[in-house]
Symmetry: C2
Subunit: 265 residues, 2 copies
Amino acid sequence: MNESRAAAKGPKVDDSRPEGAVMSLHQRIRAEIQAQILSGEWPPGRRVPFEHELTQRYKCSRMTVSKALTELANAGLLARRRKAGTFVTRPHSQAAVLEIRDVKAEATALGLAHRFEIARRRKRKSGRADLRRLDMKAGEPVLDVTCRHYAGSQPFCLEERTINLLAVPEAQAEPFAELSPGAWLTRQVPWTVAEHKIRAAGADRATAAALKIPEGSPCLVIERRTWRAEKSVTYVKLTYPAEAHELVARFAPSERLTRESANVD
Amino acid sequence: MNESRAAAKGPKVDDSRPEGAVMSLHQRIRAEIQAQILSGEWPPGRRVPFEHELTQRYKCSRMTVSKALTELANAGLLARRRKAGTFVTRPHSQAAVLEIRDVKAEATALGLAHRFEIARRRKRKSGRADLRRLDMKAGEPVLDVTCRHYAGSQPFCLEERTINLLAVPEAQAEPFAELSPGAWLTRQVPWTVAEHKIRAAGADRATAAALKIPEGSPCLVIERRTWRAEKSVTYVKLTYPAEAHELVARFAPSERLTRESANVD
DNA sequence: TAGTGGTCTAGACCACACT
DNA sequence: GTGTGGTCTAGACCACTAG
């Protein structure tokens, strides 16, 4: 059933990749097994062939099939148990990859010009509320920055941010003239770990005034806490009027897709 | 460099590894390089040591360091270029892993009893609107199901679903008595690919009535389109009153996190 | 052209879990 | 015990590309 290497596209790999090119053998093995699982021909719980069987089928070494199976196991489609074998897993929940972009990138993606203005900026000592949002002790220096983003002529997003000045002391002197606080921080402190909370909420009075919308009108609220190397960096609340914004997330059982573009119509 | 992390509440980089315990060599290499990047000691653009240098440093074969570097490249932290070397990437956007759970799991996670009722159920032929939501031709059979979920005594979520009966003909006879449509479909059609859109919206009249909330009050709306092997399976719109629900997404530069739990606290 | 990463081999030893 | 996956080696050839 399997002529060796380069030939045979295999069962329609729905890779959504321009996969006309040659595929390495471990990629092909992975794609074929993945296709069996996604199409339902190999249901959850089914044992997939042993490594030594796959080495015979594909006429390759064990390292090669092992690489393919390990990748699928890391992606969550397979579970591997010594002595028992390798099995198709039973999906428990949908894990989707959510691309959270810069506010400026979001606005320009809509074809609208982006600008922002710093509405408020204040250095202070951390208090009660910061203990939850940032992992700080009381009395440590933080910087509050409120920034209003426009897409075209309309307010697009309200960014309310607190920066841990112990983690990012350079922020104290930064005017945020060229770059918005979010973009500046991304440049200043790349590769952070973050937690996002996404919810809907009615605009309170201050938010409604800032975004020029009626009080109580629905908004999408994203709260983000960011750490770098165990140290909390910043907390931010982004508030978008309901019409202004939409998040798109995709699920596919492959880490490869993690970094793909996520554009939708 | 690789010391165990202190217990803290943030998500942090959860490698889900007993760190003091034995770690395989490629895992250790990966963890150490990742730590250099996350701590900022190796900034974006910096070249990491060549494979042959790492083999000397760790006194191992090239395959072992290659495995570690390849994993980090798949995770998006490194970019590898032949002849040039391997470099720390510049993060462009925050990619977060969003765990989309069953409505029942969400309700019980809040400590509330879950029940649901089928409010409406109708078989019909696909029309205009379905062409966007499901990849169907006009006139093909679909099943509309509206389901109201309760958490405790309060309406928790309104599930408005359209099922492609060509993809899932069994749905036609299914009463959805034991399992809600979403849970039933997950069991019936595991391992699908999905796209989610998340937004805030004011409740329209019908939604407001179904959820027993005032018209226009803010709601979190999740729209999901699901495919299996190129074939569209179902479209669903989930509407949650703003107070009822919150999504949590986490980012960390490791595919390992894809399957971690994401608790709503 | 030379040096990098990408892939692959044909072994090997080990830990573990099933019987 | 015994067979599975987990890891690692010490080579090898190739493709690509920066200089």
